[in-house]
């Protein structure tokens, strides 16, 4: 069980920085896996870091009644100049593994499947290899609560499947608090959801309700997009190019999600939803490209 009381957090980057998290009160029960939802910058990762004890809140407190992992995901946790093996050894020792260190190293090496790179410095690793190592490392310890910050986002299909399976195997003895933009995985692994919005955290007993609430908010902003389309002509070429890059990223993300959803255990209706999202993203991307081409053609005729 994790108890969060009157939690306030902000970063002192600017002079008048706003609260990222504002008066959050939560009680995360034992044995329940929770998905964290929210837009980019809503404070999902911050909340995860706070729960992990990496960061300290401005006000309020977090009481952990369980063994909590570090946030598993892309960011850090390894020292670049040391090899994978040395890093694993270090973390095992920090966690008081004692005589178990060798067993943990073997486990991680077997799980990560990065071959001889295990003895190369971390700085030579790709992000996927780091994720594999970090993930395998966290599984080697018997935590009660695993924190996952898009732990499965990088990494190929085989690794994703393996990671999801590993999490599923842990159900019963451990639970998860995870940040993910892939709703399929959230539905798969979590029972409850927390939706972060404007520094507030809303608790939903059912993850589906949380996803619905999240969709309801984001879709309403999507409704404005047709107007944005008509404005394409008024944008500068520079703005068009940035828009094109954004669209391209959105398209690529939609494609990845669609590919991830191509699994027999996901219902067809959901696969269709990913498919249509993919098509919409592709359409939007192409519209911008057409607009840019048209603009460039106009320029050439002008000169």
């Amino acid at each position: 069980m994790i108890e969060i009381r009157h939690l306030f957090k902000r970063y002192h980057n600017h002079q008048d920085s706003d609260w990222v998290l504002k008066d959050i009160n939560l009680m995360i029960p034992e044995g329940i896996s929770v998905g964290l939802l929210g837009r980019n910058g809503a404070g999902k990762s911050t909340l995860l870091r706070l729960i992990a004890g990496m960061d300290t809140p401005e006000r309020g407190e977090i009481i952990r009644y369980a063994r909590v992992s570090w946030p598993i995901g892309l960011s850090g946790g390894f020292q670049n100049s040391m090899t994978g093996r040395q890093n694993v050894k270090f973390v095992a020792r920090v966690h008081g593994a004692g005589l178990d260190v060798q067993r943990i190293i073997d486990d991680v090496e077997a799980f990560a499947e990065i071959g001889s790179a295990f003895d190369d410095p971390i700085r030579t690793y790709s992000s996927g290899m780091r994720a594999r190592l970090n993930f395998g490392l966290s599984l080697a310890f018997d935590f009660d609560v695993y924190l996952s910050d898009e732990a499965t986002a990088v990494g190929d299909r085989a690794f994703r499947a393996k990671a999801t399976k590993a999490f599923k195997d842990k159900i019963g003895e451990a639970c998860l608090i995870m940040v993910s933009h892939s709703e399929g995985i959230l539905r798969d692994l979590c029972q409850s959801g927390i939706y972060l919005k404007d520094g507030q955290a809303l608790w939903y007993d059912d993850i589906d309700d949380a996803i619905k609430a999240y969709h309801a908010d984001t879709d309403s902003s999507h409704d404005n997009q047709p107007e944005a389309f008509e404005d394409l002509a008024s944008l500068s070429l520079q703005q068009l190019h940035t828009l094109r890059l954004e669209r391209k990223q959105a398209f690529e993300k939609a494609r990845q999600e669609m590919e991830a959803a191509q699994k027999p255990d996901i219902p067809t209706s959901e696969r269709k939803a990913y498919g249509s999202a993919f098509r919409v993203a592709r359409e939007q991307w192409h519209t911008v490209i057409m607009a840019i081409q048209k603009r460039q053609a106009d320029k050439e005729t002008d000169t």
Partner: protein
């Protein structure tokens, strides 16, 4: 701050956690310090040897070496250099300790002060080992480098270690938070070597200059270390270990306070 980990499943005590962090970090630092650098072991011994030889060469070229009462020049200088290196390295290793281990603060067990303490301990151990090699080597060459008062020598050595730790603690916080501090610290290294009476004996300087130079605690520490090694050695007038320990304890206290105060900032950096 107000965080606790209440665990029925056998949470480790705070000390147990700290010790395992120190152990893990010590093994890591020891390996990277001695093995990771190319020929790390060789330079650990060769660097002081080379430095000492160069200094001796310069000194005997500039003027004769019969100014020191009660001690031979070369052993006198070796003791001074070793003692000075202990403090300097304690300080300099602390300077980069936090930045080098930034990635490891992802594990809440690891605090910014841990790498500083561990590095300082490791550096002290290595310096002690190198010094012992020097003593044994000098003995074989029939040079008088064995301490006449071994107990006092050990006490003096540990005192210098303590001041190095205190300076390292302070510098590690300030140097990480304010980049300019680390530049200044690197800069004062060389003048400090001369002002501390490592190479030139201070005894012959006029009284008015000594009054200022004796404010530097390193002089006090080095002089009493030399006195422990050479019974008949005349220390600079006014050498006081009380003054030295006042410095050592206040720097350690200040360093610990700084680490406590800026813990979160150092972690988040």
């Amino acid at each position: 701050m107000a965080e606790q980990q209440l665990n029925s499943g056998g949470a480790r005590s705070a000390w147990a956690v700290t010790f395992s962090v120190w152990y893990a970090m010590f093994m890591r630092e020891a390996i990277s310090r001695t093995m990771a650098d190319r020929m790390g072991w060789f330079w650990m011994i060769a660097e002081p040897v080379a430095f000492t030889s160069v200094m001796i060469g310069i000194r005997s070229f500039i003027r004769g070496d019969r100014m020191i009462v009660g001690a031979d020049f070369i052993p006198w200088m070796i003791v001074g250099l070793m003692g000075f290196f202990l403090i300097r390295e304690g300080m300099m290793r602390g300077l980069g300790a936090i930045t080098a281990n930034q990635a490891l603060f992802a594990y809440r067990q690891v605090q910014p002060i841990d790498p500083v303490l561990v590095r300082n301990f490791l550096e002290g151990m290595l310096r002690t080992f190198v010094f012992m090699l020097f003593i044994v080597g000098a003995q074989m060459l029939d040079m008088e480098l064995f301490p006449d008062d071994a107990l006092q020598a050990m006490a003096g050595w540990l005192s210098l270690w303590a001041l190095g730790l205190g300076l390292g603690l302070i510098v590690s916080v300030l140097g990480t938070l304010v980049a300019e501090v680390s530049i200044v610290v690197r800069m004062i290294n060389m003048p400090l070597l001369i002002l501390s009476g490592v190479i030139f004996p201070l005894n012959h300087l006029p009284h008015w200059a000594l009054e200022y130079l004796m404010l530097n605690p390193i002089v006090h520490g080095l002089e009493s270390l030399r006195h422990a090694f050479f019974d008949g050695y005349h220390v600079v007038h006014g050498t006081s270990m009380t003054y030295f320990w006042m410095w050592a304890l206040s720097t350690i206290a200040l360093g610990l306070i700084l680490h406590l105060r800026f813990r979160d900032k150092l972690k988040a950096k």
